[in-house]
């Protein structure tokens, strides 16, 4: 169970989140929507305790993570994995080494087993051919696929976090990434792996999520399902999801 309780965060004097509260289960499929700079990425970083809130509590399975040290956070972070907007691949390592990274660090598997697993994961995300390329040789879509494979190799996350997974990709590639995200969170609750995607791409969010939260001026102004989102009477939000209507 994930709980944000009155979380407030400001960078210098710029208040990004203002008493944000919500709860979610690990098997939920959430989407945070909002314009640029509304604090979507910040929500994911808070959830992983990569930044700490100024006030409020963030509870993961009943434990307040805002006061834990880096080493205490290790088991908490293991419940998640994140795919950052640009992939955040280690740029001095090849795709193979990137995906193998965590398995090597954990040191539990032999080199052959690691290689086998790397190939499996790359096949799963559909870029087996790129195994020996360096990150800078990959297209944006391939980088994100490689990053997803690397995250899957880190262990058995209970929830996947995606930061703008489709931004900057052509519609077809975006759709493919969306399918991949759905596939990784397939199944029935509570047995499936949940996902949180933060994006301003409403179409992509609608494809992979069931619950939608809209961030505006540091607050959650909408929290509901797709029909609710489409029939909202909030003028701001209406404008924001116009793109979705246009596509239909």
């Amino acid at each position: 169970m994930i709980e944000f309780q009155d979380v407030t965060l400001a960078y210098n004097s710029n208040r990004v989140l203002d008493r944000v509260s919500f709860t979610a289960q690990f098997w939920d499929r959430l989407a945070f929507l909002g314009g640029s700079g509304e604090g979507k990425t910040t929500i994911l970083k808070l959830l992983l305790a990569l930044v700490r809130p100024d006030s409020g509590r963030i509870m993961i399975d009943g434990e307040d993570i805002t006061r834990l040290s880096e080493s205490q956070l290790r088991p908490i972070r293991r419940k998640f994995t994140i795919v950052f907007q640009e992939g955040a691949l280690f740029d001095s390592l090849s795709v193979r080494e990137n995906v193998a990274y965590c398995m090597r660090e954990q040191g539990a598997l032999s080199e052959e087993d690691i290689d086998e697993e790397v190939r499996n994961l790359l096949r799963k995300v559909g870029i087996e051919g790129a195994i020996d390329l360096m990150p800078e040789e990959l297209s944006g879509g391939m980088q994100r696929r490689a990053a997803i494979a690397r995250s899957m190799a880190a262990g058995e996350p209970r929830m996947m976090l995606y930061d703008e997974p489709t931004t900057g990709l052509d519609p077809l590639t975006a759709e493919n990434i969306g399918d991949l995200i759905s596939e990784l969170s397939a199944g029935e609750p509570p047995d499936r792996r949940g996902s949180i995607i933060v994006t301003h791409d409403v179409t992509a969010a609608a494809r992979v999520s069931e619950r939608f939260l809209y961030l505006k001026n540091g607050r959650i102004t909408f929290d509901g399902d797709l029909p609710g989102l489409l029939n909202t009477d909030d003028e701001e939000l209406k404008k924001f999801i116009d793109a979705l209507f246009l596509l239909r």
Partner: protein
């Protein structure tokens, strides 16, 4: 920037420096990363250090032998050039070169890893970022700068010899004889204590600045510039303080 954030940053910096040292004593030892960094900081800097030192030695020798010749004392060129290089100019000039090449590299590499979320990714994967990224760099700089200083001192002395023997027409063997004479405990300790501290300072400052980088390309520029400028200032100031401390410890007098 107000005093409070400045103090908070100083505190973060000391914490980082201390933790980077502690990382040496705890498993897992990052041997591969450390060797890689030593190669980058050490082997990678040898040529530029030799080049810079050679010319400094030549210029110094030219200046000093000309002055001494006017006094009829040019046979002492070796002694003065040697002391100046071993105790003072060598360690400082080579540390400045090192700050420009290696310090800037560390700050910009770590900075771009921060901005590209690679550092966040390491934390999500449960790595100790200080141990993984900072300790190998601090260790390699602290160990390699003294080695580079010995090499650079050698090159500078050779540059001094070249000018003394072939431009100022002095006896080459007399020059080296004087150099041998000044190679005593006090001079060697004075010259070699400094680069250990300089290397440590350059690496900790540069890693700190790199990890503190925020805000895109502009932030990266700022981080790199600050790392090099702060390193340079710290080298010069510490050099003066350290010289005084060494004078005290070695019982020398001005």
């Amino acid at each position: 920037m107000n005093l409070r954030t400045l103090l908070a940053q100083a505190q973060d910096f000391y914490a980082l420096s201390a933790r980077s040292l502690l990382g040496i004593f705890h498993r897992p030892f990052r041997v591969r990363e450390t060797v890689e960094q030593m190669d980058y900081a050490g082997s990678g800097s040898v040529l530029i250090v030799i080049l810079v030192s050679l010319f400094i030695g030549m210029a110094l020798s030219l200046q000093i032998s000309t002055e001494l010749a006017a006094l009829g004392l040019k046979m002492y060129t070796g002694k003065i050039v040697g002391i100046a290089i071993i105790r003072e100019i060598g360690p400082v000039a080579i540390a400045l070169t090192f700050a420009g090449r290696v310090g800037s590299g560390m700050a910009s590499e770590l900075g771009s890893m921060v901005l590209g979320h690679q550092v966040d990714m390491l934390r999500v994967f449960g790595m100790d970022v200080v141990k993984k990224l900072v300790t190998p760099r601090v260790l390699s700089a602290t160990l390699m700068l003294p080695v580079l200083t010995v090499i650079g001192d050698g090159a500078a002395l050779f540059g001094g010899y070249y000018i003394a023997a072939f431009v100022s027409h002095q006896s080459g063997s007399f020059y080296w004889g004087q150099i041998a004479e000044i190679m005593n405990f006090n001079n060697i300790v004075s010259g070699l204590a400094k680069p250990f501290l300089f290397g440590f300072l350059i690496a900790t400052i540069s890693c700190y600045m790199g990890l503190a980088a925020r805000g895109g390309a502009r932030g990266l520029r700022q981080a790199t510039t600050t790392a090099v400028v702060l390193s340079i200032i710290m080298i010069i100031v510490t050099d003066f303080l350290l010289t005084q401390i060494l004078f005290l410890l070695l019982g020398m007098q001005a």
